[in-house]
Each structure stands twice: as structure tokens, then as C-alpha cells.
Symmetry: C2
Subunit: 200 residues, 2 copies
């Protein structure tokens, strides 16, 4: 019998991805669902939709609302949150490192560390020193991982993962994929997990 | 002691407004919250954001996803749902009639009737005959209401309500306003009601 599985597509720059990345593991464990972590870049996906920036910056009323909504939701979930002084931050290096940690027992913890740095500590996650701090805190050697992150093979792997996101019809993050079924947004995390359990 | 109140801002053409309009009354009753119905037009609000059509039509991946999401959510809520053959339909006449029914005991039932026609029966809600059918079903005389709907005063009242929506920072529907607090989307209905109860 196969175990129910849910792909989590997330971007380190994405504010609603923060909420999901921090929440997903206990909820998935409780539901008995395996999470497949799929870091990708929203930039190219947004460009294909005609946006050269976050829609939260392009449409100011949406942006103002989003920060208020995030503040309320973080309080509801008991998560620390500070409106970052820069948005969106460049999540490229973090995504490349996350890809190197795929299928290891630290990929979730690394992702939470990056999200916490960006959305709770207001640190610049595009700075290799910040990423090194996070890796260090997980008991990992930063230097080899930072070197592996920028090899041509790994750069290509992230580009392919991002192209795959667009092929799958993703247009935002976080998104969840269960079989052929797509769910969009932190608000759908519970529904996606339930779908995985019911349609295994 | 004042009773908790929640403004429901909705548009008859809006797919997610359908879910909320059908769900709101039992949930509000249970929470002890009074609903103030605020029909408005999304068209002018979208135009101010640079959209001359529904974003679900402008951005095809968002549109494809939305219909699938609506189908799943309607099933979850036990609501009938059929993807309308035309989207968005023109909700102008329905909104003008709804405004005439404000603060009467039929405004909720009329709004549900229009939503059901659009999203469960695939009927053209811009057709005065369809609106007349709905009014008739509620025991109301269609002709005087349809005449009152298009007086200059009532047209102006709807225009003012739509301008007010933009002033309040609304950028989509359904939206909920509780005091100064804004909530956007059918997904926030429960949170908005809870906010109304806690912050009365």
C-alpha cells in the first residue's frame, strides 16, 4: 500500500509560503501524508503572466491588505512575524541550497530556517552569510553546500523545477499537488492534505 | 450593548461571492453577528487596478484553477454548482434591485436567488425576465421593483456604494468589513465572523 504524498511547491520570497512552510510538518505527520518539498522561483512564473514584480507590489491595495492579512494569520497560528524591510527578497540562493538538501532529513528544517530569517528576523536571505548561519545552526558545513548550490548542474536543476511549475499550471505559491490535483495558497493546505488521504 | 456586525461586500458576477452568499446566513446566525449586505460592482474597482475584464479571464492559469477550486469547494459545502457558460455575467441590474431591497427581510433570499441562477442554473442574470422570476418566487411584485431599480437616485446609490468600496481599499469580492478591519475572500468568512464577535 502506498503512502499518501503531497508535493509542496514554495518560494522563499513568498509571504504566504512562509505560513505554510512553518505549519506543514506537524499537520502532514498527523494526517499520515508524506511531503515532497519542491522549491521553485516565482519570478519566471510571474514574468510569463506579464508581472515583472510581485503582484503585491504592482497592485498596492492588494499589497496593503496582504501584510495585514499575514499579520492576523501569523497571530492565529502563533508564528512570529515582522513585515520585511525588503519585499520580495531574492530567494535564488536559498532555493538552490534547498534543492541540494532534497530527500535529506534537513530539508524541512533548512526551509523553516530561511523563512524565519526572512519573515520573523528581517534578514537578507540572498546573503550567503545568512544562509551559512542557517546551515551552521543545523549542524551542516556551509562551504561545501554553498559550492554545490552554484554548480551548473544544480542551477539547471532549479531552472527545470521552475519550468515544471509553469507546465503544471502553477501561478503562485505556496501550491500543493496531490496526484493530478492542484491546490493554491496557504488556505488550501488542510484541504490538500485531506485530498491526499482520501484519494491515496 | 451593541450587536456584532459584519458588512458583506459582494458582486453577483463573482464566483467566490456565490459561495459566501449561500453560506453566510446560518454561520452569522450561529455566531450572533448581524450581516449588512453591500452589493457593489467589481468592474470599476478592477478598472482602477488596470483590468478591463475579470483577472480569471486575463490570466488563464488562474481562471482554469478557479473553476476547479470552485467545483471542489461547492462539493465540500454541499452547494449545487455548474460552470456558467458566460463569465463574468453582468450583475448591474441584480445589484440595483438588491439595493432596493436593503434592510428588508428579502435581501438575503434575493441575493441567494440571483447567485443560484448564475452559478447553479447557468441563467443570464442581466435579463430582467430572470430577475422578475426570482422576485416573483419571493412573493414580491417584480414590476415596481424593476422600475425603482433604474431611477436616477438608485443608479447613483449603487455608484456611490461602488466608489465607497474602492475608498475602503477593496480590490475583490467577497470582502468583509468588521469595524476598520478588512477581510478578503470566501476563505475569510469564518475569520471575519470571529473577529466581529471578539471585537464588538
Amino acid at each position: 500500500m502506498s503512502r499518501p504524498t503531497m508535493e509542496l511547491w514554495y518560494e522563499f520570497a513568498s509571504s504566504y509560503s512562509y505560513l505554510t512552510v512553518m505549519r506543514v510538518e506537524p499537520l502532514a505527520r498527523e494526517a499520515g501524508v508524506e511531503v515532497v518539498w519542491r522549491p521553485f522561483l516565482l519570478g519566471p512564473v510571474f514574468l510569463a503572466l506579464g508581472w515583472n514584480d510581485s503582484p503585491f507590489n504592482i497592485y498596492p491595495p492588494k499589497g496593503r491588505y496582504m501584510w495585514r492579512d499575514l499579520t492576523r494569520l501569523a497571530a492565529k497560528y502563533g508564528l512570529p512575524f515582522r513585515v520585511p524591510s525588503q519585499f520580495p527578497r531574492n530567494g535564488l540562493l536559498a532555493a538552490r541550497v534547498a534543492l541540494r538538501l532534497a530527500h535529506t532529513d534537513t530539508e524541512g528544517a533548512f526551509s523553516r530556517g530561511v523563512m524565519h530569517a526572512n519573515f520573523a528576523e528581517d534578514r537578507d536571505i540572498s546573503d550567503p552569510g545568512v544562509i551559512a548561519d542557517i546551515l551552521h545552526g543545523l549542524g551542516l558545513s556551509p562551504d561545501p553546500l554553498l559550492a554545490e548550490a552554484v554548480t551548473p548542474e544544480n542551477k539547471l536543476a532549479l531552472r527545470r523545477q521552475t519550468e515544471r511549475a509553469a507546465e503544471l499550471g502553477l501561478f503562485g505559491a505556496p501550491s500543493f499537488r496531490v496526484g493530478e490535483e492542484l491546490f493554491w495558497g496557504n488556505d488550501r493546505l488542510e484541504d490538500a492534505l485531506e485530498w491526499a488521504v482520501r484519494h491515496v
